[in-house]
């Protein structure tokens, strides 16, 4: 039972001041084992805040990040799953499923987490899953102004992953979940 928080595109302080209060009240230290962040935090204070939630923090570089040392892509193994992380502005057309699938094959992962579009999406595609946690602060994107703050919490338990999607719609937190299993036919 490993809890992994996936979020990104906060754009603090340029486009948003902070995470929504309702999100912050839920995110307490001690519950989450890993945090993966797609990028565009953008400042060190946000990095420190995320570090206080969980010491195991993985970030990839977004185009507005002020820390240039973050890598472009990252892969990690949690339990039986391989996760890949990338901001997504490098993959053109932005948000295109086939191009993201190319990236997934390149990184050789089961679950690819990317951002940049500021829209939550979860697809399964050709033996892998692509998850876009959206923007945790609801910051506007290059594509649209209408963005609901959202993030994703994955519960990895053996061969099964339960993805809890947290969205702030009209001031209320809505939680949905998505269930999937890894089958034996997937690349080992």
């Amino acid at each position: 039972m490993v809890l992994v928080l996936a979020l990104g595109d906060l754009h603090v302080p340029h486009r948003a001041a902070d995470l929504p209060a309702k999100f912050k009240s839920m995110l307490v230290p001690g519950k989450i084992q890993h945090i993966i962040c797609t990028g565009n935090l953008c400042i060190k204070e946000v990095h420190d805040y995320l570090k206080s939630l969980c010491p195991d923090l993985h970030i990839t570089r977004g185009e507005y990040d002020e820390d240039a040392r973050y890598p472009e892509t990252k892969t990690l193994t949690i339990g039986l799953f391989k996760l890949g992380l990338c901001h997504g502005h490098q993959v053109v057309p932005w948000g295109d499923l086939d191009s993201l699938a190319m990236l997934q094959r390149q990184l050789d992962v089961d679950i690819l987490v990317t951002g940049h579009t500021h829209q939550f999406k979860a697809y399964k595609h050709e033996g892998g899953v692509v998850i876009n946690p959206g923007s945790a602060t609801g910051a506007y994107s290059s594509i649209t102004y209408d963005v609901n703050p959202s993030f994703v919490l994955m519960d990895i338990d053996g061969l099964r992953v339960v993805v809890y999607v947290y969205e702030l719609i009209d001031g209320e937190v809505k939680v949905d979940k998505i269930d999937f299993k890894k089958t034996a036919t997937m690349h080992a």
């Binding site: 697809y123 519960d155 036919t185």
Partner: protein
């Protein structure tokens, strides 16, 4: 003490001061009352509870049961290597007596208690059965034993299943019940993954009181404390703290027992020290020479632990600290008992040095003396504690003598 040169060290010391009368009473030199079914008279019950230790101070007395080999117990009492207690296992008289008492179709508890007060032999797996009977885990009628054991052990498995499972499992089971056939998201197909509504706020970050996840995280603090305490239990003993996988599985068993107890008793949860009370129980049951019983040491220890604690759970409840049944009043009762039996010592503690009885009595009472003596001796002391008809509470008052 093994040299037997000074048969009565405590009394020799006291002889210079006023010796309480009961210490010089003829009861120590006379054989015990011949009628086996008579328990010792109530009035004498405080003095009879320390017999295992006082009697050995008079090895020359013609006691029918213990041969002078009893003097070996004094060796362990004096703090020299505890293994001398192993000599008690070679007392065939006692083993025979116990076997006779236990083999009867309906065990006579009063007699068993009387026998237990003298000390249970280590041999032949006598002790686990005696303790289970004394704590009321096994009924006195032999015929019911198999049924009762089966019932209790399966109840424990049910507890484990229900209480020790993590929230992921719980939600998975809930899903399997509500959604009968989801075709598994084989990950071969392509498409947007369908989103499902969650049931009453059951997500990992939930702050709701009824949420499985929230309860899990709140209890994780208790679980961590139990983990820390179990790792510190008896660090010198291979059984609990060795490097072997056995030691690890013993620790896991202790942790499970304490966690289930804490979850079933939200009133007292887990208090530091419960691990010490549990340790001798589990040790004795796990070392039962009979394999069936040793394998089920965990459920047996759990229920016996519950029985043992039920006698004095009030001592652990913070709200009751100052009440009539709480720990403060127990300590003051102990102090009064001390005053009655040895006024001189009491005066020295209370008046001259003004030592608050809490400093010595608290640990004695709540941990049933497990921290005061070596482990081997504790087990012998517990034979008498559990054997006393009034239960550990009354016997708990006697430590004043062993310490004094």
């Amino acid at each position: 003490m093994a040299d037997g040169a000074n048969p009565n060290p405590p009394t020799a010391r006291l002889r210079q001061k006023h010796v309480p009368d009961w210490l010089n009473s003829p009861i120590w030199s006379a054989p015990p009352p011949p009628a086996r079914h008579l328990s010792p008279p109530r009035a004498a019950s405080p003095p009879t509870s320390p017999p295992p230790h006082q009697r050995r101070d008079a090895p020359a007395s013609p006691l029918p049961h213990p041969p002078p080999a009893r003097g070996d117990d004094a060796g362990s009492y004096d703090g020299s290597d505890g293994d001398e207690g192993a000599a008690s296992s070679s007392r065939p008289h006692l083993v025979a007596e116990f076997t006779v008492a236990l083999v009867r179709k309906v065990v006579d508890l009063a007699e068993l208690r009387r026998l237990a007060c003298q000390g249970v032999p280590d041999a032949a797996g006598v002790r686990p059965i005696v303790w289970k009977l004394l704590l009321g885990y096994l009924p006195t009628d032999h015929v019911l034993w198999a049924y009762e054991l089966e019932k209790k052990r399966s109840q424990y498995s049910a507890f484990k299943d229900e209480l020790l499972v993590n929230p992921s499992e719980v939600t998975r089971r809930m899903d399997e019940m509500t959604i009968s056939k989801r075709n598994g998201h084989d990950l071969e197909e392509t498409g947007v993954l369908p989103r499902a509504e969650i049931v009453h706020d059951e997500h990992p970050l939930s702050l709701g009181k009824t949420s499985v996840w929230n309860q899990y995280f709140q209890e994780s603090e208790i679980v961590e404390q139990i983990d820390r305490d179990v790792k510190r239990t008896h660090p010198d003993m291979q059984f609990f703290n060795g490097d072997s996988s056995d030691a690890l599985s013993n620790q896991e068993s202790l942790k499970r027992i304490l966690t289930i107890f804490a979850k079933l008793n939200p009133g007292i949860r887990y208090v530091q020290g419960m691990n010490e009370v549990l340790a001798p129980l589990y040790y004795v049951f796990k070392n039962d020479p009979e394999q069936n019983n040793a394998v089920s040491a965990e459920p047996d220890a759990f229920f016996c632990f519950v029985e043992l604690l039920s006698g004095f759970r009030d001592n652990f409840c913070k709200q009751l600290d100052n009440s009539v049944v709480g720990i403060r009043s127990t300590i003051s009762k102990l102090s009064q008992l001390l005053k009655r039996h040895d006024e001189e010592l009491w005066r020295h503690l209370e008046v001259v040095t003004k030592v608050n009885p809490q400093f010595y009595a608290f640990r004695w009472i709540t941990l049933l003396l497990t921290q005061e003596f070596k482990f081997r001796d504790c087990i012998h002391i517990w034979d008498a504690l559990l054997g006393d008809p009034e239960g550990p509470q009354v016997c708990g008052f006697e430590p004043g003598w062993w310490g004094g």
